[in-house]
């Protein structure tokens, strides 16, 4: 299923799309909230899939994964700063040997834990019990499913991914995930299967709920729409297909000032596999660190110092402010 893609060096979109000037033109400034709510930890780029839209360039060929020592620093940071939510991402985070320990220790501290789970990883050796592990620790599962039809899903995520994803959702449902009011949260993520903006979140969530139930008897809680970011592997796709300029123009034209307030970079602190700190996972992949004067690594972390500070921005930020807005929790301006 997973095709080894070479590591793509393409990082930033071309052109002079100045996000900071756009904010200023609307009288807006992008500053952090008073506290960090979400501690988003990327435990590495190793993945069993190699999706065409992946902003991480994750694949089975990647070797960059968080060490046990850095994972220990993550837990220490949770103990010290009591971030309400730990959002674990990758790659496929479950493939990191420290993953289960990090989840268990974070939950023991009372931290809400979300895992960006790609569904198919539960069919990898040693991962078969993931649904039971997630249930045992009341993990919130967030899973990408680009569409409720095979063609669009496999086009983005690789041949055979749709069938495996449906089977994985069955397993998660069977242990109690996705039932309304059941307490075990299963949220899905919709990414457009191409160079266009996501539909309205509420409308496409209703489509997914109706179709997944009718076709496969599957249930989930909420659906997040996330815009494809013009960086790394998706940017390479845009360039290969002659869509870069058109897509960037679309993002800039669709700039929505109302989407700015809810941007995830305002209340999220992102950590990479080496322990470096960023304003978001996208900045992390561009190696665009937090602004000067702020702690740069986990070992220097002082969460209070981020309050009210500016966020590092670039042309890719237009991806999060287009249309209804986009964040790791979906639309930011009313889907």
């Amino acid at each position: 299923m997973a095709r080894d893609l070479k590591v793509i060096r393409t990082t930033r979109p071309a052109g002079t799309h100045d996000f900071a000037s756009k904010l200023a033109a609307h009288g807006l400034a992008l500053a952090r909230a008073s506290r960090v709510e979400i501690f988003q930890v990327n435990v590495g780029k190793l993945c069993n899939q190699a999706c065409k839209h992946c902003h991480v360039d994750a694949s089975p060929a990647r070797t960059e994964i968080m060490s046990g020592e850095v994972a220990g620093q993550v837990v220490e940071a949770l103990k010290e700063f009591r971030f309400p939510t730990l959002d674990i991402t990758g790659g496929a985070p479950e493939l990191n040997p420290s993953f289960r320990r990090m989840v268990a220790e974070a939950r023991a501290l009372g931290t809400r834990v979300m895992v960006r789970h790609n569904l198919t990883v539960m069919f990898e050796p040693g991962q078969e019990d993931l649904p039971e592990f997630f249930r045992a620790h009341s993990v919130e599962v967030v899973s990408s499913l680009p569409y409720f039809l095979e063609q669009q899903t496999d086009a983005q995520r690789g041949r055979g991914v749709f069938d495996k994803s449906i089977e994985a959702l069955r397993r998660l449902n069977s242990v109690g995930y996705g039932a309304e009011g059941g307490g075990l949260v299963l949220n899905l993520v919709y990414n457009p299967a191409g160079a266009f903006l996501p539909p309205k979140q509420a409308a496409v969530e209703a489509d997914f709920k109706r179709e997944l139930l009718a076709r496969y008897g599957l249930r989930f809680n909420s659906l997040y729409t996330i815009t494809n970011m013009p960086i790394r592997r998706f940017l390479e796709y845009l360039r290969r297909t002659g869509n870069e300029e058109r897509y960037m123009r679309r993002l800039v034209e669709a700039f929505n000032p109302a989407a700015v307030e809810g941007l995830m970079c305002r209340n999220t602190l992102s950590v990479d596999w080496t322990g470096r700190l960023y304003d978001c996972d996208f900045n992390q992949m561009l190696e665009l660190g937090v602004p000067e004067g702020l702690p740069r690594t986990l070992s220097e972390l002082d969460a209070a110092s981020f309050a009210g500070r500016p966020v590092s921005v670039g042309p890719h930020c237009f991806g999060c402010t287009a249309g209804a807005g986009s964040s790791c929790g979906g639309a930011t301006a009313g889907g």
């Binding site: 039809l149 266009f196 539909p199 409308a203 496409v204 679309r250 249309g323």
Partner: protein, 109 residues
Amino acid sequence: MAYYEEEDLGRFKEVGKHRPDLFEKFMAWYEACQEDGALSRREKALIGLAVAHALQCPYCIDAYSQSCLESGSNMEQMTEAIHMASALRGGAALIHALQAHNSVDKVSM
């Protein structure tokens, strides 16, 4: 040079260079038509796609293909809309067979 250039779609506002008052009135009406109302934006985008095919306007086909995707339609739904437009165009041509019948009947014994 081709008669139709993809980039020209983004230059639409240049039509307002002359008589901008008329163009602004058109744009206000056009944009108001797109909004959610008794019909959803998605339904309106599918109607737009069908009409674009009936008119065979490349700019409109390009714009409404994108609108359909961004309002959550898939290719099955879009293709059904295109078949609706095509069927109407086919039917509209075919019913004129009666004109031919009438014409032939008039001059036949």
